[in-house]
């Protein structure tokens, strides 16, 4: 068992501003839905209903919800393989997401992609990319298209701390900044790239400093605090929307579960995970809402029951889905078939 010092907890800013009950209910409801949905997905994985790779974002729900709350329907989202939370927060029907995890034809990507490749172009959700940092150049291109058409929208691009080591991160930040493109780069820094801790893969562990080399304004925020994250994303998104060029927002968070379902977690201690769980974004938000008299415990319990019910309905939808016929195997490789092979 590797015993290394736990990474420093981010400094928690004081509660940033007030929140109304409707927003609180919406955000907490979404965070609970992501949590319950993914807990169920883990169970279904053990039951063999979901196969392949399954990456859970449990512990990171505040970032998904806060980030997407700042976007409009016209904005684009580019995501990673750890994207159930992004998809649900974007409003993809939970049934379509669960059916995709099953690989059923009623899944968001007709079952072709599975957990890592959830797409919904109608919601401008440009997917689940399982090549680390592979989404960043696409986000630059989507923003370039919006600039050229022109179309008033920004592109939000999620990626992990691990992606920062790839050339594509650096090339994309530079390009977006050089061309002043409306890209909101959202780094979900959960302090690990698979089993490699941030301080073992980055010479400079303050990711928010990296924007400076490309003249991309950057800020780091406590990603366990949904309100702090939401106000940081709102400010960043406004700046990008104003035409000032890209922005890099580093959200410091933590995954409570293994990297994927295959991971024996040899690289971090239980104590470290427990320490972070004390800053569970759902528990923190809940306590703040209850403490501030914004939502009563009973209302919160009702939200949780609803999250479980929606999850159960999503499972039922997936169970009821059909398998795509084998005869359709070659469908959608091209827009049209040509007579020659």
């Amino acid at each position: 068992m590797a015993t290394r010092e736990a990474p420093p907890l981010p400094k928690t800013p004081a509660a940033s501003g007030a929140i109304d009950a409707a927003t609180a209910r919406s955000w907490l409801g979404q965070m609970l839905l992501i949590r319950r949905f993914e807990e169920k997905a883990a169970e279904l994985y053990s039951a063999g209903k979901i196969r392949g790779f399954l990456h859970l974002s449990i512990g990171e729900e505040a970032v998904s919800v806060a980030a997407i709350a700042a976007l409009t329907e016209a904005d684009n989202i580019v995501s990673t393989y750890r994207e159930h939370g992004h998809a649900l927060a974007r409003g993809l029907p939970p049934g379509a997401v669960m059916a995709e995890l099953y690989g059923k034809a009623n899944g968001a990507s007709r079952g072709r992609g599975g957990s890592m490749h959830i797409f919904d172009v109608g919601r401008r959700f440009y997917g689940g990319n399982a090549i680390v940092a592979g989404g960043l150049p696409l986000a630059v291109g989507l923003a370039l298209a919006d600039r050229l058409r022109p179309r008033p929208a920004i592109t939000a691009c999620f990626f992990g701390d691990g992606a920062v080591a790839e050339g594509e991160f650096h090339e994309s930040l530079n390009l977006a900044s050089l061309w002043k493109l409306p890209v909101l780069f959202l780094c979900e820094n959960n302090y690990y790239a698979m089993g490699t801790a941030l301080d073992r893969h980055q010479a400079e562990t303050d990711i928010s400093l990296k924007g400076g080399a490309y003249r991309v304004p950057s800020v780091a925020v406590d990603g366990m605090d949904v309100m702090a994250t939401a106000s940081a994303v709102r400010a960043a998104a406004e700046q990008v929307r104003s035409g000032a060029g890209p922005f890099l927002l580093e959200c410091r968070t933590y995954r409570f579960r293994a990297h994927s379902m295959y991971d024996p977690e040899l690289y971090r201690s239980k104590e470290e995970v427990e320490q972070w769980k004390r800053r569970d974004p759902i528990a923190l938000f809940r306590a703040r809402l209850e403490g501030g008299g914004i939502l009563a415990a009973a209302a919160i319990e009702a939200l949780d029951r609803e999250a479980r019910a929606v999850t159960d309905q999503a499972v039922a939808f997936a169970e009821a889905g059909e398998w795509e016929p084998v005869a359709d195997l070659l469908k959608d490789v091209y827009a049209r078939e040509l007579p020659c092979g």
Binding site: F53, M194, H201, L266, Y267
Partner: protein, 332 residues
């Protein structure tokens, strides 16, 4: 001794690190995580972080650094997690590793070993499942091998480390948990020779890596029908062991090439061409191929299974070449 393919690799890595101080292993999560496929589990503890180096997610940089370290007198073993990710490093491979000896007029040598997982079958969809070793086999200046057995997983690595040129070892992801007999000694075959895994007389079934087991399963089935298929494991994809391939085809007069790569522009196309160049007049039927369907590998099991070569499809292709007129749809 019986051990898994994974244990065989670990044994080989352990021996290599023990035997030669110039050898070191680097790649994503090879150390603390123990390797994405657990091939290097325990090696960090045994050899320390200088010799078992976790790298950032920087395929181009760490494959390139492997090339540089080889130029500088070391014997690096670079692990790339999966062939799909190796595409980020393809520039370093094709433009540097493969060219430096030649471009420098023979002054430089790149004794580098790169290992990576390849292939489908685990329902990990279209960015983790492809078999691109045939692309690598296209490139002069590098060598490409594909151990299909635990014994080869054990003994190809030390042989690769003795090569003065870059050697790419493709490990089919489905093979890691497979158990097999591992001999105490290397050989009997040299690194770049093909092996007859099952002698036969009616047809040569040519496969490599994860397809060898499928070809053997097909041969078992065909034997119950009175068809004796010879199964040839390529082992080396560059160079190809033409002599062994052609000798077998000349004896059996029919050939089926199994390749998990896509059919168009594939290694199977190269092999079929070499057979027609070298044994055309010995053939009793056109060479048949069993390849992956021309689709990015889909996630659901039934579609993935259909997309990849399977024993049933190999059997059907063999039956086809035994009835050439029907198979070719030609003259009655």
């Amino acid at each position: 001794m019986r051990m898994t393919y994974r244990e065989a690799l670990r044994t080989a890595l352990t021996e290599a690190l023990s035997a030669d101080p110039r050898v070191f292993l680097m790649g994503e999560d090879v150390g603390r995580y123990g390797g994405a496929y657990a091939a290097s589990k325990g090696l960090l503890e045994q050899f320390g972080p200088d010799r078992v180096r976790d790298t950032p997610l920087s395929e181009s940089a760490f494959v390139g650094a492997g090339i540089g370290a080889a130029l500088g007198g070391m014997r690096p073993i670079v692990e790339v997690m999966t062939v799909n990710f190796s595409l980020l490093a393809l520039d370093q491979v094709v433009n540097s590793a493969a060219t430096l000896r030649h471009m420098s007029g023979g002054q430089l040598s790149v004794p580098l070993v790169v290992r990576m997982a390849t292939g489908g079958g685990r329902q990990v969809a279209a960015q983790h499942s492809h078999s691109l070793e045939g692309w690598y086999a296209h490139v002069p200046g590098i060598r490409v091998v594909a151990p299909a057995t635990a014994h080869d997983a054990r003994w190809m690595l030390p042989a690769a480390l003795r090569e003065p040129d870059p050697v790419f070892i493709f490990e089919h992801a489905m093979l890691y948990p497979e158990e097999g007999e591992v001999g105490e000694e290397p050989g009997p075959l040299p690194l770049f020779a093909a092996a007859i895994r099952r002698p036969g007389r009616d047809v040569t079934v040519i496969a490599h890596g994860g397809s060898v087991g499928k070809a053997l399963a097909a041969a078992e089935q065909l034997a119950t029908e009175g068809i004796e298929a010879e199964v040839l494991d390529l082992r080396s994809l560059r160079p190809l062991d033409d002599a062994t391939i052609l000798e077998s085809v000349r004896r059996c007069h029919r050939a089926v090439v199994v390749d998990e790569g896509w059919r168009s522009g594939s290694l199977s196309a190269e092999i079929a061409s070499r057979i027609s160049e070298g044994a055309f007049f010995e053939l009793d039927a056109p060479v048949a191929r069993v390849c992956s369907a021309e689709v990015p590998i889909p996630y659901p099991k039934h579609l993935e299974d259909t997309a990849l070569p399977q024993p049933d499809g190999i059997c059907a292709a063999v039956r086809g070449v035994l009835q050439p007129a029907q198979a070719a749809g030609a003259k009655a």
